[in-house]
């Protein structure tokens, strides 16, 4: 766990990225975020602290992904999401309210080993996401309501 406003310049130096204000704030933001977010959210957050162009946000995100600081995820929304690249985990995505919950490592490792043995396919990474209805939305849907995301 990191302190409230942890200076991320060490992390940036480690991956040979210059410590610019935008990058520092963006990385701090990721460290406080619990759920995968999109470029728009990052832009909004950065813009609340300094002036930044959305193009720069994409360049920052790409550099973070390239350096392995951040992981790029795709929920099939026509846009990418990003989250801090920590331990392997997956997501429960509510199709009603859009909430996202983490689930920690399932035994995909076993499956990957099996794939390697049977198919001789070298697995680098995998994506596993579950789409459905979260506990909060289930009663709401039964009453015929739908919460706008």
């Amino acid at each position: 766990m990191f302190a409230k406003d942890h200076d991320c310049s060490d992390e940036l130096r480690e991956v040979k990225l210059k410590s610019t204000p935008a990058r520092l704030i963006a990385l701090q933001h990721f460290e406080k975020l619990s759920k995968p977010t999109d470029s728009k959210d990052i832009l909004k957050f950065l813009n609340s602290k300094l002036n930044i162009d959305r193009v720069t946000v994409f360049r920052i995100l790409n550099s973070f992904v390239e350096k392995g600081l951040v992981r790029k995820i795709d929920f099939g929304e026509g846009k990418a999401r990003y989250e801090l690249n920590v331990a392997d985990h997956h997501h429960l995505i509510c199709q009603s309210c859009g909430s996202i919950e983490d689930i920690s490592d399932c035994n995909i490792d076993a499956l990957e080993r099996e794939i390697k043995q049977n198919k001789h396919f070298l697995v680098n990474s995998h994506s596993l996401e579950f789409f459905g209805i979260c506990p909060d939305c289930q009663p709401r849907l039964n009453r015929g309501q739908k919460k706008k995301n």
Copy 2:
């Protein structure tokens, strides 16, 4: 002219879609395809048989997905892929040559049951894809070569 192998008009009638030439050919194409493909490929194939606009291709694909004939998949490429909606299965995607291989049902069911019990989250669907290097590409990469997709 059309419907050489299998006339798909029955399938279309079943889901209450009008049997137009483009839809028939598209559905036939899907039935012969073994791997998930994209809108461009469908457009190209359709255009080899008749004149069709890419907008119409998207509308056809969306109607197929909506009616459950076809499944929409996302490999994080910035575009959607589509495949015939058959038994639950997943994919091995080679990051070197782009080849796609199916793997049949892994025991995700158990995981889904667990999620339902522990998280009270109602799973409607899931996506599971593996990214890595296929057997063909492994020696090639060791020799420092890279096959263009």
